[in-house]
């Protein structure tokens, strides 16, 4: 009898030690991003016919909300087979997005500051936490300012931008300008059916200077060096200018296109 009691007590002790019960009212961790001004770009390769994409997008936005909406930007790049429009599904395909997607065969896929993208790999949404936190902790190398001038009647958009080095840097430096439209309503497959009024966030509409952007005049820059860029475009008549943004980033092609800094500015 004594042996049985001891055995049962030992079993209960092992079972107790083997289980951690989390308080359901306290499942979220407080998180404070490390200091600094480095911004981070998450590219979300998605598709309107991808059933798992809305959930992944929610996760990325939750990440943005929790870690800092002023320091994390999300670009929803519709690319791949599940983004190819059929029937009433919206057409958000772009040549540049297809080039970035680089023949991957599934959605959703992610890159964080282009890490694990240009070498042929991508991240699943569950894998982006640590790269985002790591990227936020990196030192800032550049500062980007964007000034948009939009003419309502002609729908012409003029973009003036400055890229300023905040530290000495050597690499193969490029700057890219992308048009983003937020809050587009359309058809999206969701688990268990179809959402005909799904709100697509931060939809990539194309670039103003090509899939790879354009090179900075110098690959070896020194602190305070400043480079100016101007671009113009006419907004497609179907785009809602009130919800459009210019997203800009500086990347280093000597590091597989790693993005060094990102900025975003409303068109209006």
């Amino acid at each position: 009898m004594k042996k049985t009691i001891i055995t049962l007590m030992a079993a209960m002790a092992i079972a107790t030690a083997g289980c951690d019960k989390i308080d359901i009212n306290n499942t979220h961790k407080p998180y404070t991003p490390t200091g600094g001004s480095k911004t981070v770009l998450i590219k979300d390769f998605t598709g309107a016919r991808c059933v798992n994409c809305p959930e992944a997008a929610d996760y990325a936005h939750e990440l943005q909300h929790r870690l800092g909406e002023d320091r994390i930007f999300i670009l929803s790049v519709h690319a791949g087979y599940l983004a190819t429009p059929t029937g009433q599904f919206p057409d958000f395909l772009t040549d540049e997005g297809t080039a970035w997607y680089n023949n991957h065969d599934s959605n959703p896929l992610f890159s964080v500051d282009h890490v694990a993208l240009t070498d042929g790999n991508t991240l699943n949404v569950e894998q982006i936490d640590t790269p985002v936190a790591d990227a936020l902790a990196e030192p800032q190398s550049f500062d980007i300012t964007v000034e948009n001038t939009y003419d309502e009647s002609s729908r012409k958009l003029d973009v003036k931008s400055e890229v300023k080095a905040v530290t000495d840097y050597e690499g193969q430096l490029y700057v890219s300008y992308c048009l983003v439209e937020d809050s587009i309503v359309g058809w999206q497959i969701i688990p268990g059916g179809m959402d005909r009024e799904y709100v697509f966030r931060n939809v990539f509409r194309g670039t103003l200077n090509g899939a790879d952007g354009e090179p900075l005049p110098s690959n070896h820059v020194f602190v305070e060096d400043t480079f100016a860029f101007t671009h113009s475009m006419t907004l497609d008549s179907t785009y809602n200018a009130d919800q459009c943004y210019i997203l800009s980033y500086v990347s280093d092609n000597s590091k597989n296109g790693k993005i060094l800094q990102t900025a975003m500015q409303k068109v209006k």
Partner: protein, 578 residues
Amino acid sequence: MQKHILLVTVLALIGFGASAQSFLENSQVNGSFQTDAQYYMLDKGIDITDLNGKKFGINGFGKVNYTNGNFSAGIRFEAFLPEMNGFRSELNGVGLANFYATYDNGFIGVTVGDIYDQFGSGLVFRTYEEWSLGMDNALRGARVVLRPTNGVTIKGVYGRQRFFWAPYLEREMSADDYRGIVRGADAEWDLNQSIPSMNDSKFRMSLGGSFVSKKQADQSLFYYIPENVGAAAARLNLGYGNWAFSTEYAYKINDPSAINNFIYKEGQALMASLSYSQKGFGAVLQVKRTDNMSFKSMYTGKQNDLDINFIPPINYTHTHSLPSMYTYSTQPNGEMAAQLQVNYTIPKGTALGGKYGTKLAFNMSQVNDIVRDSIMDNGQMVINKKGSLGYASDFFAISKHRFFRDINFEIDKRINKDWHVNAQYINLYYDIETIEGHAGAPVVQANIGFVDVTYKINKKQSLRLELQGLWENEVHKGYEVEESEKKDYQKRGDWAAALLEYTISPHWSFSIADKWNYGNPVEEYRDHYFTGTVTYIHDATRVMLSGGRQSEGVVCVGGVCRTVPASSGVTLTVSTSF
């Protein structure tokens, strides 16, 4: 860890005092080797216009086991150079995949190295290796088995699971292959063995219980992840005469993971089986309910790896090519399933039984989703929201969402000493969107049938003919498939298949086969998949060479599946055992 295990193995050998000579004198050695190699070719006919730089795929293994009295040891070497198409790319590599050493004197058994074991039906713990899936979730560590008295077995296991070629040492938490430690215990009591008066009783009874826990560090930035997740199970087996009943219930504590969308709901599973058998008749009824029972040693994992437990499927396993095209894959987040299997042999000497008897079999299995209701979370009604309890689910409620149904009837008849016929009809419902992830693709509803006839030409030679057909009830009849939807329609629609096999016993077999997707809604997919195969068998050695096309599909074993892409080329399989 690896060095430690090797050291323990060597010490064990020395400790048991086995001199080199006696160690060899009473020993037994057995093992097996297998190599599967594929040479891939371009084939515009089935849309293979790019091999992506991969002309060859070779999977191979060799294992050797040594036994001497109470001691046994073994190794398993594997090579994937590179892995064949359809296998996980992480397999690419070569090396010693598994090793073990065991001492077992009947009272105590100790194993160090890679452990394959199962508690009960596996609902809380099962490690196994399945070559055809490229799957191996062995636990590298230690196991102790105690048998203190007749009919009582107590087991304890401890270790870290295999994850392709990832190191077993403690890893950085940020490493992609970071996974936790698994520890578990199981006890089983067979009353018929323990209690002398029950030794020969018609009434049979055994009880069992298990507890398994994984320890994985919390890597999440956002959620408090339980570092110790425990799962427990209790089981009961009863029998009386021709009747047998078994059941097992499992419970898992909060285990937020990528599979369940980081919800904190507990997991539950219940399985039960009732069977009756007598000469010429057998029937089995099985039911199963699982809810949030995926249990992995890496909570961020989403694929078929690092599973600590196993959810047994209760579906008929088809072996012919067309019926097995749509095999059910267990849904880890929850399912309600039932299966009835009835076998009856019409006796010899009756009008329908003839000289040899006639075997009849009926099987029906169906799997539906569980019901998930919204719950209140921070003042809002939510369902499956991250960081919440997820949902509420009535234990006995069945969702209208049907994943799978298979109703089949089989007849197996030896007509005379030369002719043997086997035929089966299958009515299938297969939710391809849920099971294979083809978003928006229509459900497969099909009638499938085959006839398999063997004619014995003489004592050494025989001919076997298979004729199969698959007819889908609805595949967007009359609907013109748009260009972008085509990928979802590969393998869809009606099929016909035939195989002719000529066997010269005991060594040779030759076969030619064709599968024709003649009813595919997409005209360019109405392809033939020809294959020719030559097999040579010598004792325990088998060499098989085949050439031709392989259609896209899934290979499933025990409800666990991998996707096989379409290919064209030559396949060589060589296997032997000793």
